[in-house]
Amino acid sequence: MGRSEVHQATGMLSAQHGVSLAQALMMLQARAYSAERPILDIARDVLGRRLELGNGAAVD
């Protein structure tokens, strides 16, 4: 997981949802898995504010 944008999006989600970095990364991973898209794509959408992920620590 060496991608800068994934780390940045992790931080952004953690701030937006008040969750830990580990939980924020899980949110990204969960969305990538359920949407069947690469995690980097999800990260870029989060950074571009094109994608809102579910709130709280809930990983759906």
């Binding site: 060496g2 780390h7 989600l13 953690s14 701030a15 970095l21 870029r44 950074l47």
Partner: protein, 240 residues
């Protein structure tokens, strides 16, 4: 052609930051920014090998997604990877002629508006620990003097990486490089936290963290930790 008149002051400045409040990620970021200025190229990035030997971005002169992508693609292919594997400088690569050798990388580089690329190795004794990668949108090749200067900048980056502790054993070197890579992750996450809290762009968040670190004589990694665990004065950082 390199801007020789600034050469001395840049190396003095880089050497200075090695002594005072040294922060490895900040230092390497400076090396990339200075590489762009001195070599008159358009983008520079430093790639380091992690413990499994795969290349990871350590610092870049610019944060545009198209540019980051070029460094990230070199996990699999590109001049950085070749320079890292061979320990040699690979310079004056015409990207349009490299579509066969490195299809994804060369296509992405051309799309990003670059014509030439160069990579010089980060060498420590008989080992290669990463590479400095340069991109130009002009079709002006680097002169032999420029290539020597690029290698000198790469050597300065290596010295910076090894500066925090003296490196005698292999295991210590690996640890040191891993710790540098970990700091980089922390700083990326902190940029995201600041951007997420305020709505600003990630590159702007980085600028403010750096400025706050400078003003307060703190390391960038320390500021990033503070942002993440909430102990840094957020208003103070945002007012930079």
């Amino acid at each position: 052609m390199a801007q020789v008149e600034h050469l001395g002051e840049v190396f003095v400045e880089l050497a200075d930051t090695l002594v005072k409040d040294f922060d490895v990620v900040d230092f390497l970021h400076n090396v990339t920014v200075r590489s762009v200025q001195l070599l008159e190229v358009d983008a520079a990035g430093l790639m380091l090998a992690d413990q499994r030997g795969s290349l990871t971005i350590m610092a870049t002169s610019d944060d545009r997604a198209e540019t980051l992508e070029l460094f990230e693609l070199q996990h699999d292919q590109g001049p950085c990877l070749d320079s890292f594997k061979t320990g040699r400088a690979i310079v004056n690569i015409d990207l349009k002629s490299s579509l066969v050798a490195w299809p994804k990388f060369a296509a992405a580089a051309c799309d990003a508006g670059f014509n030439y690329s160069h990579a010089v190795p980060l060498r420590l004794r008989d080992e290669v620990i990463g590479a400095l990668n340069l991109f130009c949108s002009t079709a002006i090749p680097l002169s032999p003097d420029d290539i020597a200067l690029a290698q000198a900048l790469a050597d300065v980056a290596t010295i910076g990486l090894l500066q925090e502790r003296s490196v005698r054993e292999q295991s210590v070197l690996a640890e040191q490089l891993q710790s540098a890579l970990n700091s980089r992750v922390l700083i990326e996450q902190a940029k995201g936290v600041l951007a997420g809290r305020t709505g600003m762009e990630v590159s702007e968040a980085f600028r403010r963290m750096r400025s706050f670190a400078r003003t307060n004589g703190l390391g960038l990694s320390a500021v990033a930790s503070g942002v993440i665990n909430g102990s840094s004065d957020m208003q103070e950082i945002l007012s930079q």
